[in-house]
């Protein structure tokens, strides 16, 4: 609030001690009001239930003084530097280096991912984390079709993840169907639910669409909880068959893969197999999405995000275009759900709460809506990064939230904010995110 005006005033003019002092005093006063209750006063329930409290005025004074001095220091820095641009911090050589590195990120990341099971063969924890990250990469890429390309804000994506997971779990446990038969079925069923959700929400835009999709996610979860005879209710479905390598189970049995290959059985085999399975599924999602973007349907999705009225004036059926976006996104969610079920061996409604939807949406938004690489990077940062902060224990969520706030301030359109054109005559120029619309339902 104050920062923007002071920046314009103080930068070109002479040092103004009165203004700086006034700003510091105001900041310190705000800090005093905020922290006097949060830090200055500590209350707790005593042994017999009574309220005991004690004061921490020393800590309070330190914090307020810190804000006061920090505010002065900020203003002085602002005065010396003037208006700050990125080129001030990052010299051109480094920036061109970053640009070159930027082009190499995707292939390097892919090769590294392929080698993860080789490098970390003996580290089960890393392999499990890798599988988790890849699951979210896939979910992010799936939701990216709906949110990033078509510009339809979907807060209930977890519903399709749940439909996929339960489709596989129930088909496999009740009808003994193999994973490879169930996988496409799970995708188709999820896509069907995507269309079912799509129909009622076609007329809705923006906030209203978000609320209805949010409700849809909850409805699916509540139906799963309450339809006990089919889904087992809160107890979930257990004993979900593990995937097989085209019929060959990855077990220690005589007909298992290890025995057939004549090597010693290790439980890591299955983990590695699952790793490559989800990698293949995620890459399939990526490949299909990249292809679709260059096809008329993908261009229509993006055009829909840019301007729905213009789409109709060009003869594009916006209804089917939206439905195909919902169905495609849901299908990938369903695949990921089926994988989740086979990996866990047990699923329950607890895995499909709104928090999952929010997390996947955060991955898409943080990555840069519409950018495949951005989504992959942000899934890595969000899931992998969250694990990195494990040592911080109670402060983990705090640090994580702060990191997200900072990233969104610096890169409001996500890690990769620009859009690559789908077709070009001479040269594909990246399109600045300032021009690309976010869509409004």
């Amino acid at each position: 609030m104050k920062a923007s005006t002071s920046k314009q005033q103080s930068a070109p003019s002479a040092l103004n001690p009165g203004f700086i002092l006034k700003k510091a005093v105001i900041s310190a006063a705000v800090a005093l009001v905020l922290f006097s209750l949060m830090v200055g006063l500590r209350t707790e329930a005593g042994p017999s239930g009574q309220l005991i409290y004690w004061t921490r005025f020393g800590d309070l004074a330190t914090m307020v003084a810190g804000v006061f001095l920090g505010s002065i220091a900020m203003e002085l820095l602002r005065h010396w530097w003037g208006p700050v641009g990125t080129d001030r911090f990052v010299p051109p050589v480094v920036r061109s280096g970053i640009a070159v590195a930027g082009r190499l990120v995707a292939p390097v990341l892919l090769v590294f991912t392929l080698l993860v099971p080789v490098i970390f063969y003996n580290q089960r924890y890393i392999l499990d984390l890798g599988i988790l990250v890849l699951t979210y990469v896939m979910l992010g890429w799936g939701l990216n079709v709906v949110v990033g390309l078509a510009g339809l804000l979907d807060l209930g994506y977890v519903a399709f993840y749940a439909v996929g997971a339960y489709s596989y779990a129930l088909l496999a446990t009740n009808f003994d169907l193999s994973f490879w038969v169930c996988l496409p079925l799970a995708g188709i069923l999820a896509a069907l639910w995507g269309v079912l959700l799509g129909f009622p929400v076609l007329r809705l835009r923006g906030d209203y669409l978000a609320i209805v999709t949010l409700a849809f996610g909850e409805i699916i979860r509540l139906v799963i909880i309450n339809w006990q005879s089919l889904t087992g209710g809160p107890n979930g479905v257990s004993g979900i068959p593990r995937p097989t390598l085209f019929g060959i189970p990855l077990t220690a049995d005589e007909d298992g893969l290890a025995a057939k290959l004549g090597i010693e059985y290790s439980p890591t085999h299955r983990i590695v197999f699952l790793f490559y399975l989800i990698l293949a599924l995620a890459l399939l999602t990526n490949w299909v999405t990249i292809r679709l973007r260059r096809l008329p349907i993908g261009r229509a999705w993006e055009a829909l995000r840019e301007d729905e009225v213009a789409c109709r004036a060009l003869g594009i059926n916006t209804t089917t275009t939206k439905l195909t976006a919902f169905a495609t996104g849901a299908m990938f969610g369903g695949f990921a759900g089926a994988f989740f079920a086979t990996r866990q061996g047990f699923i329950s409604p607890e895995s499909f709460t709104f928090q999952e939807s929010a997390l996947v949406l955060a991955i898409v938004v943080l990555g840069g809506m519409g950018s495949q690489l951005g989504v992959a990077l942000s899934a890595l940062a969000m899931i992998g990064g969250f694990e990195l902060f494990r040592s911080l224990e109670g402060y983990r969520m705090l640090v994580f939230g702060m990191a997200m706030v900072l990233i969104m301030i610096w890169r409001p359109r996500g890690l990769i904010g620009h859009r690559a054109p789908t077709v070009y005559l001479t040269k594909a120029h990246a399109i600045s995110s300032d021009l690309v619309k976010e869509g409004h339902g």
Binding site: R299, E302, D307, G315, T422, H429, I431, L435
Partner: protein, 277 residues
């Protein structure tokens, strides 16, 4: 409906609650001709456009479109995208509606959506990269290139449309509408905000669309220099009703038109009308 009429508006009425925006309006647009719809601000011109292009459902009356093969389509019964898709009516907007985050070429490719959808076997053939689709895409790019050349934007084909200057955006929007290969092109104030040189280029472009491609044009315009120069037929509206129609010369000399445009101050009206001749 006679054979050389492409569009017939028959007693069109459009009400918004108690307000009658257009009342019993009847006129016809001739095939391969440029018909202009003019009138003071608030006369109901854009409402007529929105009824023709399906953005409003008329409260009464009929709008008939006849294709070259003699097929007659009742536009008031088709809704939104079908008018563009089946009746082949394309339009531009008063406040330009390009896809700002897509390149000029992409904008023109989106315009060919329906043709490309069929060629891509509704995505399935395209997904596997069938040669049928690749050929169709090549043809679509050729058509788009051709139009970029016509509107003089070929060197900016790969730039985002949102970065274009105002006049360039107007021309690109016309090119985009033409890429749908329409039978009738409806332009809502194409010369608004253009300077004299750009207006002259626009007139030339519209004449070439009529003469070389034989596309019928219906246009709303305030810029009298453009209207008087290129129109074959002019319909004048005021307060939702038609007050005059005829050739540019007839309309220019009509006292009712002059009065509508500038109240009763006929001297000024004559001055405005003549500035366009």
């Amino acid at each position: 409906m006679s054979r050389d009429q492409i569009l017939e508006v028959d007693r069109l009425t459009m009400r918004f609650g108690g307000i009658v925006a257009v009342q019993d309006l009847s006129f016809a647009a001739e095939r391969k001709k440029i018909t202009a719809l003019i009138g003071p601000n608030g006369a109901g011109k854009t409402t007529v456009f929105n009824c023709i292009t399906g953005f409003y459902k008329p409260s009464g009356g009929a709008i008939r479109l006849s294709h070259d093969d003699g097929k007659v389509i009742a536009l008031e019964r088709l809704n939104d995208f079908r008018i563009a898709k089946q009746a082949k009516v394309a339009r531009t907007f008063q406040n330009i509606r390009l896809f700002p985050g897509m390149t000029a070429l992409e904008n023109l490719m989106v315009a060919q959506h329906n043709a490309l959808m069929r060629a891509s076997g509704f995505t399935l053939l395209g997904l596997i990269g069938a040669p049928v689709y690749r050929d169709a895409e090549k043809r679509a790019i050729d058509l788009a290139t051709d139009w970029l050349k016509r509107v003089n934007l070929l060197d900016r084909a790969d730039d985002a449309a949102g970065n274009f200057a105002y006049g360039d955006q107007r021309r690109l929007e016309i090119a985009r509408a033409m890429c749908t290969e329409p039978a009738l092109l409806c332009l809502d104030e194409p010369a608004a905000g253009l300077n004299a040189r750009e207006s002259a280029a626009l007139s030339e472009l519209l004449l070439s669309i009529r003469n070389e491609l034989g596309t019928s044009i219906l246009l709303i315009e305030h810029d009298m220099s453009v209207v008087m120069e290129i129109s074959d037929h002019i319909v004048v509206m005021d307060h939702g009703v038609k007050i005059a129609e005829g050739s540019p010369r007839e309309v220019r000399d009509d006292p009712k038109v002059i009065a509508a445009y500038l109240g009763t101050d006929e001297e000024e009206a004559v001055a405005v009308m003549e500035s366009g001749s």
